[in-house]
Subunit: 245 residues, 2 copies
Amino acid sequence: MTAFSPNLMARPDCAACPIRHRAVCARCEADELAQLEKIKIYRSWKAGETILFDGDPMDFVGSVVTGCAMLTRRLEDGRSQMVGLLMPSDFLGRPGRSTAPYEVSAATDLTLCMFRRAPFEKLLVEVPHIRDRLLEMSLDELDAAREWMVLLGRKTAREKVATLLLLVLRRSSLPISGVARADLPITREAMASYLGLTIETVSRQMSRLRADGVITLEGLRKVSAPDLEALALAAGEDSDGATIA
Amino acid sequence: MTAFSPNLMARPDCAACPIRHRAVCARCEADELAQLEKIKIYRSWKAGETILFDGDPMDFVGSVVTGCAMLTRRLEDGRSQMVGLLMPSDFLGRPGRSTAPYEVSAATDLTLCMFRRAPFEKLLVEVPHIRDRLLEMSLDELDAAREWMVLLGRKTAREKVATLLLLVLRRSSLPISGVARADLPITREAMASYLGLTIETVSRQMSRLRADGVITLEGLRKVSAPDLEALALAAGEDSDGATIA
DNA sequence: CGATATCTTGAGGGCGATCAAACGAAGTGG
DNA sequence: CCACTTCGTTTGATCGCCCTCAAGATATCG
């Protein structure tokens, strides 16, 4: 039993929330948090479950509390491209739109802190700290999407895979350490979907990176990189290692 | 001499502005417009000129009034990917960031309605109509970027070219007419940069679309499509023809 | 009319997709 | 405990789309 068990209560205490200082509520004062607390509700999904289909009515917005969510768009003939990978604290949904423009699914077991859209939009008007944070997060997402456009349009398969591993390692492992390690939140299929590749190509490039000593794999899901600089090099990143978002 | 000649005056009258009802100022009342008018300044560039290099200080934001601007990101080895094509009324820059995360250049002769960042950020706090519109436009841009990710990751060269032509024809030609026509605002090289292709592939696919009767070309820059449905089909679009943004 | 940039077309090669099969892990039931 | 299934992953062989390199055509401008 942990101190924060979202699955066991509808409205855990915001003060103990793991994403309290990074989510859309990051800048809220205690009284503002109380307003959010009144309209929030937790809900969880199992890995692999679909939360919404493209075109479904979407009468809520919310934050990823734990786990990972995927945003996927499909072409008519079945081709699909993941257009977003939401990690804890990321925001899902958009005020002012009532229909999902992509499919939303749970990459891992997932818990969302959800707000019905109408009352949330009301808070957006009344609480500057929420509104300002949402604008900032939206602009960050836009930058991240543009960064991903470079990957999709110009990077090689090896660079694509290395870039994704670097992203996961940077975001979910301890910030500074000799060896970075993390659990891959997504399957090879989802990796392929996000990278604009096939599953076979992803698998081959993972094997090559491992053979080259850039990464180490334990089981299928645990990755580590003895030298993040080497991984960044394989990712074709700017030398300073700076990322936009 | 037209009624609205941005090149000839520093602060043309907002009331006569061609983008008055679509830009970041779209929702402003007369008094709010007056506040913007006080801090705005026009500036123009010739086609091909670079406005900002990646990493340059960016102490302004603004709207495209006439012409087209390109946002381009580069990898170290010279590969480059256009990550945004700004048309009249689109917003350039971001409050809260002082450095350009991409190169900005003029695709065509271009005029911007610019605001220094500091006073604009002040208005963002004081004028809800500007702030709300900026959030809306940012979310639209995010949707458009994600749509483009599908193109970059999953579409064929033919579909990519058709999609871009469709975008240009839909946005710059008369909305409903038997034959849609427009001037291409960008060179083949810029098209290639935006589509994640080479210039040769773009050229070949243009020729194929012409040979197939999907488009007609007069000179290098004038395109028309006798049947937008056929072009949409070539673009691999959803049957309902709906686009996100 | 020549100079230069831009665009088109052609020939050949490589990277990633496709098709196919083997492998490994996790779960089920006898 | 072990066959058996199932699903995800890895590896192999081949194909084709788009890139690369190269030359020629067309537009633009002095």
